[in-house]
């Protein structure tokens, strides 16, 4: 009996999934207020962007750098170096930039949302909002959800750019490649489709991060400790879901 009624038993999981779905439905429903909530959305976008831009840039420059280095090591004496730009470019645009940006943002923005909404929940601010006939889903969740989608896409474009620059820096600076060689390789294999697919994934990751933050924030209970717990849950589930969604989207976007 206890396993069924406990917080982590199957029944809790099912009712959790039910709540998750209902809240997602209401969030999507709240999109009809999109144009009257633009000020809330832009505020969240600004907040997410400012919080994360430097972090994303630092992550990306090293991601690009290490992928150029590792590709160089793998190619050595098997594959001509003129393919390096192409290989690194694809890896960055399709996988590395979207996924690593999303994982970093899950830790930054997802945790931030969960902590903020969680502390609003445990101090009854969300009850107060409801008591004033303002729907917290419309006022708090929907703007974060939309801003998450937009900002993850935007930051992934930045990450793509910086990571390729980082790769080029390593290729030129430490591997003795010519600028022309790297760049021609990159261009020869560049597909608009890959770039766009990466952004489609990023937007989906943005939705996951923001939504997990909101969902677990709203589920917070019982003071500061509860807020900490919900923040951890938000980050962990966002990270897992990002990787699962990445696989699912790979099978949909890139048919073998």
């Amino acid at each position: 009996m206890d396993i069924i009624t406990s917080r982590y038993g199957p029944a809790a999981l099912l009712s959790g999934l039910g709540r998750l779905t209902i809240m997602l439905g209401r969030t999507v429903g709240a999109l009809r207020h999109l144009f009257t909530s633009l000020h809330l959305i832009t505020a969240q976008m600004y907040f997410m962007g400012v919080k994360s831009i430097w972090l994303v840039m630092v992550t990306s420059v090293f991601t690009g750098g290490v992928s150029a280095w590792q590709a160089g090591y793998q190619f050595k004496s098997y594959v001509p170096m003129r393919y390096l730009g192409g290989a690194v470019g694809k890896a960055v645009l399709i996988e590395l930039a979207p996924v690593l940006t999303a994982l970093v943002m899950a830790g930054r923005v997802g945790a931030g949302i969960a902590a903020e909404l969680g502390s609003m929940k445990v101090t009854e601010q969300i009850d107060a909002m409801e008591s004033m006939a303002v729907d917290p889903i419309r006022y708090l969740v929907m703007p974060r959800f939309v801003a998450g989608i937009i900002m993850l896409t935007a930051l992934t474009i930045v990450a793509d750019f910086i990571a390729v620059l980082g790769a080029m820096g390593v290729a030129l600076g430490f591997m003795g490649m010519e600028y022309e060689t790297f760049w021609n390789g990159f261009r020869q294999f560049f597909l608009m489709r890959d770039f766009v697919s990466g952004l489609v994934k990023a937007s989906c990751f943005g939705a996951i991060i923001a939504y997990m933050g909101c969902y677990f924030g709203f589920a917070a209970e019982g003071g500061a400790e509860g807020v900490g717990r919900c923040t951890t849950h938000a980050v962990v589930s966002a990270a897992v879901l990002i990787l699962v969604a990445d696989y699912v989207m790979a099978t949909l976007l890139f048919q073998i």
Binding site: E116, S119, M120, T123, E124, Q125, D127, A128, M129, E130, S131, M132, A133, V134, D135, Y139
Partner: protein, 248 residues
């Protein structure tokens, strides 16, 4: 008219409200007293449909508020004001944005109009000109008064006060009591207040009810409350550690 019928609320194994019945006439000012942890805040939240009972109903003007559609619930909530026990001010907004929140986001008043109302309400609670401060910058008692200003800003028909005077000095508490009496006197306002503070209860109540073990165990005028021989009420108002109420 607000009618509570057989209201039952449990949290896990703990039964907080146990088939509670209560009837409140329009325009009445009811004070709920009771020991800490007996469920006063839980009861109060049911009047705003912030908590849902396991069974039972709260009927306002003939309609069960737990059976309303989302839109009807929203319009019901536009008629109520809630002062939360711990203020529940939005800590990311200024004092003025807090007080004007319902005016802007729910009633969609023009900014100039709502600014005037915010100033007026802040002056009413004795805090003129602090609109630009953040909640973190003001004292606990000031937060309480800002929360009160926020609760009355939209001129609701039903007011729910959860311990309006705890944490205030006796003088400010009396000013707040008078303000509450004033607001309540306005035509048709029904008020339900929770308090431990008997001075405040005598001042603002037309009627005092006592909540004990999930039910109303006493219901009478302030005068009845002073003179009652009911041992539970006597123990509570005289603050005795021995008697029928067990202190855990």
């Amino acid at each position: 008219m607000i009618t509570v019928e057989k209201l039952q609320k449990r949290f896990g194994r703990l039964t907080v409200l146990d088939g509670l019945d209560l009837e409140i006439a329009t325009g009445q000012s009811v004070v709920i007293i009771g020991q800490s942890g007996c469920g006063k805040s839980v009861l109060l939240k049911h009047f705003a449909a912030l908590l849902r009972p396991d069974s039972g109903t709260v009927t306002v003007d003939g309609r069960n508020i737990f059976a309303l559609s989302r839109d009807d619930l929203m319009s019901y909530r536009r008629q109520i004001g809630v002062l939360f026990q711990f203020g529940a001010l939005f800590d990311s907004m200024t004092v003025a944005e807090n007080v004007g929140f319902a005016l802007k986001e729910s009633l969609h008043l023009k900014p100039a109009k709502s600014r005037d109302i915010v100033e007026e309400k802040l002056a009413l609670v004795g805090l003129p000109g602090i609109g630009d401060k953040m909640p973190a910058e003001i004292s606990g008692g000031m937060k309480k008064r800002v929360a009160l200003a926020r609760a009355i800003a939209a001129e609701p028909r039903i007011l729910l006060y959860d311990e309006p005077t705890t944490g205030l000095d006796p003088i400010t508490a009396m000013v707040i009591n008078e303000l509450i009496v004033d607001v309540n006197k306005k035509l048709g306002v029904t008020s339900i207040a929770v308090t431990h503070d008997m001075a405040s209860a005598y001042k603002i109540a037309d009627r005092i009810v006592m909540l004990h073990q999930g039910n109303i165990v006493f219901d009478g005028s302030p005068e009845d409350t002073r003179t009652t021989s009911d041992p539970i009420v006597r123990q509570f108002i005289n603050g005795l550690s021995t008697g029928p109420i067990a202190v855990h």
